[in-house]
Amino acid sequence: MPEKADQVFLLLRDWLVGFLPPGWRSAAGVVLGVIGIIAVFPGLFAITTVLERKGLGRMQNRLGPNRVGPFGILQPIADAIKSLTKEDIVPLNADAVVHFLAPVFLVVVVFMGFAVLPVGRNMVLVNMDSGLLFYFAMGASTEVSIFMAGWSSRNKYSLLGAMRAVAQMISYEVPLLLSSVVIVMMTGSLSLVKIVEAQNQYTWGLPHWYIFTPWGCAAFVMYAVAATAETNRSPFDLPEGESELVAGYFTEYSGFKFALFFLGEYLAMLSISGLGTTLFLGGWSSPLALLNWVPSWIWFFSKVMLSICVLIWVRGTLPRLRQDQLMNFAWKFVLPMTLLNLMVAALWRFMGDGWARWVACSAILLLVYVGAGRVGMRREHFGPRTYRYAE
């Protein structure tokens, strides 16, 4: 019975596909999977918007939206109706074709990233051998769409916001990839399905998730920082924050196109949380061996929503970083730490099983982190001021 609940969506798909002639079955199965993704993840997007607004409100000592539906849970429907009925304004000087294509391209690319995430046991849309590489390829393509959006508006502020956003995304792409490469190194495969299966083993009831290892924990923290910057979330949302203050790459978009950008951003957040769950938190595997009867897809989505809650929590807490601060942080702190993490992971493998490797790796990582932190946080101590007068 637990196996049936676990595989219920696959069984449903097989039953539906069984009505068709045999030649069409595999293609129809893939189409049903695509329909499933298109139905589930925008639904999660809707839930995320309500969760974010209510959660941020409570963190800021106020209620979130609570007029539409009980406790405001039907708010996304109101937002959708609002976006659909707003006038679609395209500036006269704007490049109409590129202006139209930018949000479309963003949403297409972000949806493609969902194709390789294993949401449950045997439940991945496309089982690719280099699934992780495909995911990062799609993630890198979102930058093109942001640039297209900013440039096509023919607005200096949009262009500046878009360039900043692209610079930020490129800078944090490197730590993101390097912290995932550690996982690939230890698993020996780029396939996300194999990575989850490697984490699905238990020792004394506790799972072998990569976050429970020193190098995995460090990589997870760096991945989280880089992921927050990749999706332009606070505290790295200077490109968007500009759109609240001055303008950003969103500025000339209204109505449905703006809703598409919004959708693309939140879907990117969900998808990168999904990838983080797959790489570090064990994907669809359950935290304790005796909870294996709970369906695997429930674990996956709970972990993803937990990551989203942490992202919302961080958004409600931290102030925005300035552009030069976040670029410095990426290149001068996170990137060297990821390289060190790679070496520590190699050392881990080199030392073989035992408690010694735990102590050694944790010690190296902690010492370097604390040391670099102290060096980075040092303030210049100025002596008393001296003046030089013009003669």
Binding site: D95, V98, M128, D129, S130, L133, F134, F136, A137, M138, G139, A140, S141, E143, V144, F147, M148, W151, L159, M163, V166, I170, E173, G188, L190
Partner: protein
Amino acid sequence: MSFVFWLLAAITVAGGLAAVLLKNLVHCALALTVVFTGLAFLFLQLDAQFAGFAQILVYVGAVAILVVFAILLTRSSETPKDGGVFSRTWGVGLVIAAAVFAVLGWAVLQSETGLPHETAVPNVTVQLIGNALMGRYVLPLEIVALLLTAAMIGAVIVAMHEKGDAK
């Protein structure tokens, strides 16, 4: 030569033509991005998964952005030059392009005879590529890495000089 190949080839060639014939420079850069994605899909069609995804990751994700930044940061004026898209030295350009095409064509024709049409393509996994890079081709890898580092340092020095002059 299946229908998918012809479609992808048509898209790639169309993108390439657009990249040289369009008036707006940023449109040309975006057409170049289409060419890159077309190439990536051609790689995927040949079952070279790593090459295809690395092509998207590197070319579309980084090189296209680089091209666009370069255009935006060094563009002198908005208006395209009069006299169409053919510059005054188009003859020399034609000769050089024909020479390059001839060399590439000769290289392709030289290698084609070795491949029979119907045998199974060896499954090139990432592990094989990694082993080859670290084993047989480690010297070219390190030389390319050195070249890239030198280019980065050069770019940083040029930018620093500009900032120093501006101050």
